[in-house]
């Protein structure tokens, strides 16, 4: 593989952010690591009474345990990945409950043409255009002329996305599902990939791909809460950018520490992290690193996305702090800091080839690993409530359709009323996390 310009999944090793040389240097160490882990997995499986062989990848896995979690966090063998993900997410039960459903969907959607299928067609060739499995194949006809034939995997991807759009009309087709389904298809057969997509959008990314994409904003809100709690050094710079001037809540931003207006007036930096959720890191992190994150996600829960996201921020923190230092003395109106900050957050993850260090930083050298699903769910509930209240407020005041200035004036007053009414400022969204933060800070000192 070292002599090919492709990785083991057919992706190009080199891109704008990682050179082939860098890839090969990293792979030299990572490849033996994978062999070691595979052997350990085999032993672990045998110990738990599961037969594995080269030709028979396991379809069932040992019961959940701390050991198992540790193994998953260190990476599932690539050959087993599809089966493992499917098993961990209760795919077999889903499949059993829906025998024949997929075949029927395929039939029903065969000639279907609508907004969704049009959008799907536009994205098929823009999914993994540089991956050999998703490329058109150049064939030679009997008369010697060459022609392009669509790869079979593109055809499969089309079917899966079309069926999904029919099966989940509340989502239909949303750009970014092509990347999730595409990566699933490298590891799972068509029907299983379809049900995984259903499970992912139901359980792990609820609301994220819905028509209004409100779920995206909610998740961004939760991530921003996490950043505020866990990375207090960089948070002020993420939250207070010149971009925010002249926005809806002008004047409220720089108020008290407990000001949570960033939940509905999201920091522009959250534009850069949108894709972290929508495509679950596909196109954000290098592919091997993405797969490690997916391993954790499907064994643990959606908290994994936040844990990995926080770790990316943490790894980028030295760069961010350096930038903050460099920009000291510049005017507060300065766009310099925010523009550079966007660049770091957008480009940094693309270079994180070293999946092991990312995982260790997440689960071993930080407390992000201890962030519980319950905490994430509590945060989410809080964000949903805050945003709903805010949106209703806007609606009630029929601010929609007014220009920015009108709206600002309206909301300005409305927020004051709202604060008085429900004491938004004193609302402590998550005491448990606050305590943990204090402990971490204490430890660092």
């Amino acid at each position: 593989m070292i002599h090919s310009d492709r990785d083991r999944y057919g992706f190009k090793k080199a891109n704008h952010f990682v050179s082939e040389q860098e890839y090969n240097n990293w792979w030299k160490d990572y490849s033996p690591y994978l062999s070691r882990r595979k052997k350990k997995w085999e032993k672990f499986m045998a110990k738990n009474g599961f037969q594995t062989s080269r030709d028979n990848p396991p379809t069932r896995f040992p019961a959940r345990s701390e050991d198992m979690k540790r193994y998953v966090r260190k990476g599932i063998p690539a050959e087993w990945r599809g089966n493992a993900w499917f098993y961990f997410t209760n795919g077999p039960a889903k499949l059993k409950d829906n025998i024949g459903v997929y075949d029927k969907l395929v039939e029903e959607t065969m000639t279907m043409i609508n907004e969704n299928t049009e959008a799907i067609e536009k994205d098929l060739h823009r999914t993994f255009p540089e991956n050999i499995h998703f490329n058109d194949v150049t064939k030679t006809a009997s008369d010697g002329t060459t022609y392009e034939e669509e790869s079979s995997l593109l055809n499969t991807l089309r079917r899966v996305l079309k069926c999904f759009s029919k099966y989940r009309p509340s989502i239909g087709y949303c750009q970014s599902l092509n990347f999730i389904a595409g990566l699933l298809l490298i590891f799972l057969d068509e029907e299983k990939a379809f049900w995984m997509l259903v499970i992912i959008t139901e359980r792990y990314l609820p609301g994220i791909h819905d028509f209004n994409l409100e779920g995206v904003n909610v998740h961004q809100g939760v991530l921003m809460l996490c950043v505020r709690q866990y990375l207090p050094e960089i948070w002020p710079y993420i939250n207070e950018q010149d971009e925010r001037k002249g926005t809806i809540l002008n004047g409220f931003r720089h108020g008290s520490k407990d000001d949570n207006s960033f939940l509905y007036d999201l920091p522009p930096l959250s534009f850069c992290t949108t894709s972290w959720f929508m495509s679950i890191f596909v196109g954000v992190l290098p592919i091997e690193t993405t797969l490690r994150a997916w391993d954790c996600l499907f064994y643990e829960d959606s908290k994994s996305i936040f844990q990995v996201s926080l770790t990316i921020f943490k790894q980028a923190e030295p760069q961010i702090l350096e930038l903050i230092n460099a920009s000291r003395g510049m005017s507060a109106d300065d766009g310099f800091l925010s523009a550079e900050l966007f660049q770091i957050i957008q480009n940094f993850p693309k270079k994180v080839l070293d999946a092991n260090t990312l995982m260790e930083d997440c689960f071993k050298y930080s407390d992000f690993g201890k962030l519980s699903q319950e905490e994430i769910m509590n945060c989410k509930k809080y964000v949903v409530e805050s945003r709903t209240r805010y949106n209703e407020l806007i609606k009630r005041r029929s601010a929609v359709g007014l220009n920015e200035n009108d709206r600002r004036e309206l909301v300005k007053g409305a927020v004051v009323i709202e604060n008085k009414k429900v004491g938004l400022k004193s609302l402590n969204w998550n005491g448990k996390l606050n305590n943990r933060m204090r402990k971490i800070q204490h430890k660092l000192r």
């Binding site: 907004e115 999914t127 092509n178 028509f211 002249g246 949108t274 929508m278 196109g283 920015e404």
Partner: protein
């Protein structure tokens, strides 16, 4: 008066301005390709669809004394991303609303975006309608006259480009820069932003002050 000062000084005061520009338009019309041509002067047929938004910057020299830095938000084109788009364009000083000259429906989408921007964005936002894929002019479905007439009617700029060949891309961004308020107060503060300009020009500024 300012021109008088310039002519007296060997190196007139350098101006540096920074603007936020957002690209909007239907899916697959070539928004990302336009940005990449402008920023990296490259083109690929193998471009992935944009998820959410991508951020890029490019600095151009408008004239020997004027530097303009664009902070560009390239957005996803699918219909449902409209709800996120308002976050991208609300502080933008310029917008490129892109359509594909070979796709009739894409102009309709572009018209929607122009209306939306005129209603919701900064009142002084510089909007440019951009017809892309000029390299496919044989397959053209929307004539230059039609698009131009529409642009004139709404008092916005119009340009036709090809991200693939690079035709008109630089000129298009240049035209936008020329329309932007390079001299307003907030942007004179921006001179401090560009550190290289700042450091190299400071002695000149001092000289000028001494001369006064």
């Amino acid at each position: 008066m300012p021109s008088e000062i310039s002519s007296q000084s060997s190196t007139p005061e350098a101006r540096f301005s920074q603007f936020k520009l957002v690209l909007l338009g239907e899916s697959a019309v070539g928004k990302s390709s336009i940005v990449h041509r402008f920023v990296k002067d490259s083109f690929t047929d193998l471009r992935e669809s944009t998820i959410g938004a991508a951020f890029l910057t490019q600095t151009i020299q408008l004239d020997p004394n004027t530097t303009v830095k664009f902070e560009i938000w390239d957005t996803a084109g699918q219909e449902r991303y409209r709800s996120l788009a308002s976050m991208y364009y609300r502080n933008a000083q310029a917008a490129l609303v892109v359509f594909d000259i070979t796709q009739e429906s894409s102009l309709e989408k572009a018209k929607y975006w122009v209306k939306e921007l005129q209603k919701q964005a900064n009142s002084n936002i510089v909007i440019t309608l951009v017809g892309n894929k000029l390299d496919l002019s044989e397959e053209r479905k929307i004539s230059e006259d039609e698009a131009l007439a529409y642009a004139n009617e709404l008092n916005i700029m119009y340009c036709e480009v090809s991200a693939k060949s690079g035709q008109n891309i630089k000129d298009c961004f240049r035209d936008v820069a020329l329309k932007l308020p390079l001299d307003n107060k907030s942007n004179s503060q921006n001179q401090r932003r560009n550190k290289t300009v700042d450091l190299s020009k400071r002695p000149n500024t001092n000289e000028q002050q001494c001369a006064c």
